[in-house]
């Protein structure tokens, strides 16, 4: 029992932080926002030069064979910069699902490409699709970075398929999305060829777990960044003849942010660790992490706007990037209320009335 990073984990954290701080600049992120929300140069560097994209994928398929703790470290660092990258759809969900529930062919076909960034994956788990043999028809909404993807993991009920971007009958419509760093797409499938996952249950569970951990860790990183940046502003900005950080109401709000963020930190790494260790606590931990970290991020990003005053609600300032990412994380992959309802069941409260 030791709830601190190993030396290796600490090193990964340091590397990732340095990489995103240097490269995932506001300027580059905004350039990506005007396109499809993917900073492709950044993604290539991350996957190939840094070689960290496959960190939680099996070594046999181009990964490093580490776990969700290490993956969370990366997502936290990327989230701190609101980096415009397909980390969620491509790695946390699609690749993770294939690694855990794909056939050997599927693994061999996709994992090395996803790990190198040669291909981008995207996932939609709330598909309203019907299958006729190996062909799908229907729609899938809110597919994050869907317009940038080469392969889709589609879930519908307890079934899961892979669909290639160039499959016949597939239409991908990009949506103008509030969080421009991770725009949604709507997929329309008309008798589109699809490959069922080898073990759909394992794949879907892996996609959920990976997705929850990814956005919770992003939220943690983002929330910490809103605090750090606001503390910096509080020390610089002078109003009423004083540093604004000397006003007690301002200080207390920052302290409250920190109280929440430290809990979110415990939640994220508890959940990642519990999944990696196969602990019985994993389900409660995952629901805790997703709901708590998302709510913390939203609150902190809102506070960042408030505590920056007028400049905080301008397009020019970065506060809205955090704010919109936070909102998107809150509503995707199950709302906070839904996750808490799952916990209510898990701890024996029975059904809701």
């Amino acid at each position: 029992m030791n709830f601190a990073f190993t030396d290796e984990q600490a090193m990964i954290a340091e590397t990732a932080k340095a990489f995103f701080d240097e490269n995932a600049t506001s300027e580059r992120t905004r350039a990506a926002m005007d396109q499809d929300g993917v900073d492709r140069t950044l993604w290539q560097s991350f996957c190939q030069e840094l070689g960290l994209a496959g960190i939680a994928l099996p070594e046999a398929h181009g990964g490093s064979g580490l776990g969700l703790v290490e993956f969370a470290i990366l997502a936290e660092a990327a989230g701190a910069q609101v980096a415009a990258l397909p980390m969620l759809g491509s790695l946390a969900m699609t690749a993770h699902a294939i690694a855990r529930g794909g056939s050997n062919e599927q693994k061999a076909a996709w994992l090395p490409k996803l790990a190198t960034g040669e291909a981008i994956g995207a996932t939609g788990l709330d598909g309203r699709v019907t299958a006729t043999g190996d062909r799908l028809s229907g729609t899938v909404d809110f597919v994050a970075h869907g317009a940038s993807a080469d392969v889709f993991l589609i879930g519908s009920g307890t079934d899961a398929w892979l669909v290639a971007r160039d499959a016949t009958g597939l239409t991908v419509a990009a949506c103008t999305t509030m969080d421009q760093t991770r725009p949604f797409a709507r997929l329309t499938l008309a008798d589109t060829p699809a490959q069922p996952l080898g073990d759909a249950t394992a794949a879907l569970r892996a996609a959920q777990e990976g997705g929850w951990i990814c956005v919770a860790a992003e939220a943690l990183g983002g929330a910490q960044a809103t605090l750090d940046r606001t503390v910096g502003y509080a020390q610089e900005r002078v109003q009423f003849g004083r540093q604004i950080g000397s006003f007690q109401a301002y200080k207390h709000r920052l302290a409250d942010m920190m109280v929440e963020i430290e809990q979110a930190r415990s939640a994220v790494y508890w959940a990642a660790c519990a999944v990696d260790e196969g602990s019985d606590e994993a389900p409660v931990a995952l629901h805790s992490a997703k709901s708590f970290a998302a709510d913390t991020y939203f609150r902190c990003a809102g506070d960042m706007i408030q505590l920056h005053g007028g400049i905080g609600f301008t397009w020019e300032h970065d506060a809205h990037l955090f704010f919109k990412r936070a909102r998107a994380i809150q509503s995707m992959l199950g709302t906070s209320a839904w996750h808490r309802e799952q916990i209510a069941r898990l701890i024996g409260l029975g059904d809701a009335a």
């Binding site: 909404d141 809110f142 949506c175 103008t176 999305t177 509030m178 969080d179 421009q180 949604f184 002078v238 109003q239 009423f240 003849g241 004083r242 540093q243 000397s246 006003f247 109401a249 301002y250 809102g302 706007i305 408030q306 005053g309 007028g310 905080g312 609600f313 301008t314 397009w315 020019e316 506060a319 809205h320 704010f323 919109k324 909102r327 998107a328 509503s331 995707m332 709302t335 209320a337």
Partner: protein, 394 residues
């Protein structure tokens, strides 16, 4: 204490409603239900002219200046019917509600004759120059300078204002300036009326997080206005500005609330549409929003029922905090009702419909016009008599 309206009031209501509905289903049907303040500027200017023409623009003003000497009850009724008819948010707001009453109270007879007809007729639009980049919520920290040029008998203004709402479509601006070199705090401020269309003034829109640009930066570089456009006396600008703040708490709050009503109704409709109206958690939050909105209405009526509402009691000081926090929570509720659908919009422009736009734009409510933090200081110090916040270097 009586909440109902008299038969006379109800007759006034019928008259107002008839006129408004005729406009909103006739000549101005294209403006019905319009939200925000930036769309369809030219048509809205025509609407302001129409209001002026039929004497519905400034009904609370004396009839001498184009008003109707409307009672409080009538003003309440007009605000309600205005919104019920779906008439659009008024781009003449700053003139009708702020500049006009300020001139009525502090202006010379000459200024009244010069400016009030333009406001009442809808021909001249006004905006407000208060905040500055380094003053923020702190009006006493204004740095924009004014000096009287004896050669031309004009005030010459240099500096920068920010958050000047709608400056891009307005004709005149009222500005608080510092006219005594070396003065600090509320002393040495001067309140000036200035034409916007002159070489010394540059307006740059500020894009907000919702993608819209209602606000502007306004730069003054040797901008000029005649000495007769000084309100009150040089150095007395703080008093004028404070008086003007009181007008902000007038009947116009009821008009604002009718917009809130539209937003809440849109949430209720969305919740019924997508079934979230049956979710017990959502029901609680909608009920809270409903309660909050009704209490805003009755709070405003209390405020207005006390005759001297220009010198508000403590309760009036709580209103900004109340509505700003309410609307911010409403925006979050809107998004939770809409779910992920609220995060996408049709078309390729970054421009969101009423509810997601509410969510984003409401983040400004708790900041502009004095942040929630400043408002709490004001309530604590002025209404509750607690010690003032110490200033640093003064």
């Amino acid at each position: 204490m009586k909440l109902g309206f008299s038969a006379e009031d109800e007759a006034f209501r019928a008259e107002a409603a008839d006129w408004l509905n005729a406009q909103m289903h006739g000549e101005f049907a294209d403006l019905r239900g319009l939200t925000g303040l930036t769309a369809a500027a030219e048509r809205r200017k025509e609407w302001e002219l129409k209001l002026g023409e039929d004497r519905w623009s400034v009904i609370g003003w004396p009839s001498q200046w184009g008003g109707r000497d409307a009672t409080l009850a009538q003003q309440v009724i007009f605000a309600e019917e205005y919104a019920r008819a779906g008439a659009p948010g008024r781009i003449a707001h700053m003139g009708v509600e702020l500049a006009g009453p300020t001139i009525l109270t502090f202006g010379t007879e000459e200024q009244k004759q010069r400016f009030l007809p333009g406001i009442a007729s809808g021909k001249v639009l006004w905006c407000q120059g208060y905040s500055e980049p380094n003053a923020g919520s702190d009006l006493a920290n204004v740095r924009t300078k004014a000096r009287l040029d004896p050669a031309t008998d004009e005030w010459v203004v240099d500096g920068q204002k920010i958050w000047t709402s709608l400056a891009q479509i307005c004709d005149w601006i009222f500005v608080v300036t510092r006219s005594e070199e070396g003065s600090k705090g509320p002393k040495g401020l001067t309140f000036l009326l200035m034409p916007l269309d002159q070489p010394g003034i540059t307006i740059r829109p500020i894009r907000q997080i919702n993608g819209e640009a209602e606000f502007n930066e306004t730069f003054f570089d040797g901008a000029r206005t005649a000495s007769g456009n000084l309100v009150s006396t040089p150095g007395n600008g703080w008093q004028v500005a404070m008086g003007l703040l009181a007008f902000e708490r007038g009947v116009s709050t009821l008009g604002q609330q009718m917009n809130f009503r539209n937003e809440l109704d849109a949430i209720i409709a969305a919740a019924r549409d997508n079934g979230s109206a049956h979710d017990p958690l959502i029901r609680q939050r909608i009920a809270k929003a409903e309660i909050g909105l009704r209490l805003m209405r009755y709070g405003a009526l209390r405020m207005l029922s006390h005759t001297d509402h220009a010198r508000p009691d403590g309760a009036a000081l709580t209103y900004k905090l109340q509505w700003a926090s309410w609307r911010r929570a409403l925006g979050e509720l809107a998004m939770d009702v809409l779910g992920q659908s609220g995060e996408v919009t049709d078309g390729s422009e970054y421009h969101f419909p009423i509810l997601p736009n509410l969510f984003l734009s409401a983040r400004a409510d708790t900041i502009y016009g004095g942040t929630n933090q400043i408002q709490r200081n004001i309530v604590a110090e002025r209404a509750l008599g607690l010690p003032r916040e110490p200033r640093g270097n003064q």
